[in-house]
Symmetry: C2
Subunit: 381 residues, 2 copies
């Protein structure tokens, strides 16, 4: 198996791109990554996208996007694993290069959500949950997360206000990220008075939708080729799609499995991770991720946040460029934004948000309510 390096990254600002189509969004991220890599030829595109079939009436994004970026005739296909679709595309790209099947590959995540009415978006997002046993009985995706959060608070005695620190950190980190959806500081006060969506989840516990795309160029790793980020861990695991089918609904078993496998591949322990882009779609998911990946004991993640250990200068900096909460969560694109941001840190190009001496970074993407979790560890030394 060949080692795989990432030699180019690209991303676009997450916002409501009313003036651009799905392929234009993907194209801009791809062109930026190709330019960054300084290459002139690619031979594969793996596209992460969740809902273009419903939101844009366009599937078959492989041919659609390859054609648009002027790479007609190369191999291209779409990967879908709900909210972790972007990470699935990256994982497929890793396997394509590692296997020797392809040499220079683009992984791109793209989602265009603002073309659709909100009710339709809610229905599309709900296809990430179990249609038979969750959605058909009337629950929505945010309601599933609310149930999990409610249970977590009951089991461990945390109050809603204790989760503010996750979102405050995310908003603070997004300020200097030009690609982020939000550039506004969040205060405890604002968090507490933000509108309730589904108790106990309020608006400031939740990540915003948006249109976005992020891409990376993957090639075989070459020794002694200079400042090159390479992949040392790549793993995916699933859990039951329905939350009620899990033995412990407040434990992300798939995050534990895929992170442990990635640590083992990388030959490291969690303490060696310098930067962690986690999947904070809701504050409860931020907490559960930290616990499942070994950064906090079960039930202790809010303390980590309250102690400012997740901040840029903390022990385990997370959401360093805003996370899902403030950078934004264009569903199928998010997994690739996480990869791109980890690479910014490992290259030392994260500007005001740079983690000092960052050498090892981890990106973890969650599909559904914890049912398909993909973890990558990257390194630059």
């Amino acid at each position: 198996m060949r080692k795989v390096a990432v030699i180019g990254i690209g991303q676009i600002e997450i916002k409501e791109h009313w003036d651009k189509s799905l392929k234009e969004l993907a194209g801009e991220a791809i062109f930026a990554a190709v330019q960054d890599a300084g290459i002139s030829k690619i031979n594969g595109i793996f596209i992460g996208n969740m809902m273009s079939g419903s939101a844009n009436k366009q599937q078959h994004l492989g041919a659609y996007i390859a054609d648009w970026v002027g790479a007609k005739n190369i191999e291209a296909m779409r990967l879908e694993s709900a909210c972790s679709s972007g990470a699935a595309a990256f994982r497929a790209a890793v396997m394509a290069v590692a296997s020797g099947e392809l040499e220079t590959v683009i992984a791109v995540g793209v989602e265009k959500m603002t073309d659709s009415p909100t009710a339709e978006m809610t229905a599309s997002l709900a296809t990430a949950a179990d249609a038979d046993w969750e959605i058909d009985v009337g629950i929505s995706f945010v309601a599933l997360n609310a149930l999990v959060m409610q249970r977590y608070m009951f089991e461990y005695g945390w109050k809603h206000e204790d989760f503010a620190a996750f979102s405050i950190n995310a908003h603070s980190n997004a300020i200097h990220n030009p690609y982020a959806r939000f550039h506004s500081l969040l205060t405890n006060e604002k968090y507490l008075h933000s509108p309730m969506i589904c108790e106990p989840i309020n608006l400031m516990d939740s990540s915003p939708m948006g249109d976005g795309a992020a891409a990376a160029v993957l090639v075989p790793f070459e020794e002694h080729s200079g400042n090159q980020v390479y992949i040392v861990g790549s793993a995916a695991a699933t859990d039951s799609i329905a939350v009620h089918d899990r033995q412990n609904p407040i434990w992300l078993h798939a995050a534990e499995l895929s992170s442990k496998q990635a640590y083992s591949q990388a030959g490291i322990s969690p303490e060696e991770i310098d930067v962690f882009e986690y999947h904070d779609a809701f504050t409860i998911m931020a907490a559960l991720s930290l616990e499942a990946c070994g950064f906090a004991e079960p039930g202790k993640a809010p303390k980590l946040a309250l102690d400012e250990e997740i901040n840029l200068k903390g022990n385990i900096p997370v959401a360093c460029l805003g996370g899902l909460k403030a950078r934004g969560h264009p569903v199928g694109a998010t997994g690739m934004y996480q990869i791109v941001e980890v690479i910014q840190q490992l290259r030392g190009t994260a500007g005001e948000n740079q983690i000092e001496k960052a050498k090892i970074g981890m990106a973890q993407s969650i599909g559904g309510s914890g049912s398909n979790i993909i973890t990558h560890i990257l390194r630059n030394d």
Copy 2:
């Protein structure tokens, strides 16, 4: 790069499965493949599916199906490239095993189409074409194929009746396939009097929808392990998604590219192919495939069919168990039916339809109107 073998296959009958859900269909094919392989453990599932988001209000099939088949916690994701989604899943599974990332992998194609009203199905199928420049201006997927067929007839002087031989061969071959949708012989007479759908495509030029699933178990190839089918060619290529953007709309450039690459990987020429499962969604696609893959000169494929060279005893047997036309075309599942049927031939278990001394087989799946074409060559000797 490791060589990859297929040690198990499974499929279910294609029909209107009103009593079974999407996951049950996929599960039956997976269980059959696992039983056939005689294994007890898998560590990855790659799922080909085109339209579960709209037809079944369920995406995220990785977690959904892994959970259902009792393989919770393993890696699982969905591949989509419109009508070639099944082949994309197989290709991803090949790369997963070849790269050394996974050891025992399921590739499954599944589609459940009968739950949706026909109009909705037509709209879903149309997401395989270019939403902006084809579908939005009012053309349907069958109409696109009709334009291509019209042009082909004009350029080469063939009449509609000359295409009957493709469908007659397919129906004749499906008679003994218990998994096929149709078990009725087609006569020239019936073909000529079948209802027109979109001139010149009539009902008997067209493959039927249906519910179906087919699966295979992939593992690293081991020398001297007996009757083991292995993969000698695996390649994919795209073309412009819109037909009007192609230099030559009656030439499947992506089929030429991916088949040539697969021949080269396998170290063979087209003459050495003993059995060819092609993507005869419409008779015009059957003709174009034979030409692009080197079995007929441009414009000469109908002659091959009229001369009975595509029949079971001909030079290049195609649709040997019914093809898309008569075995049926449950869109995202079709690519895996083709793989499974090639393997039946290479194992010598195709019953009444067995091609004598079949050693090398090719399966080719077409996404959209020729815009994402995936070719596999398998061997058993």
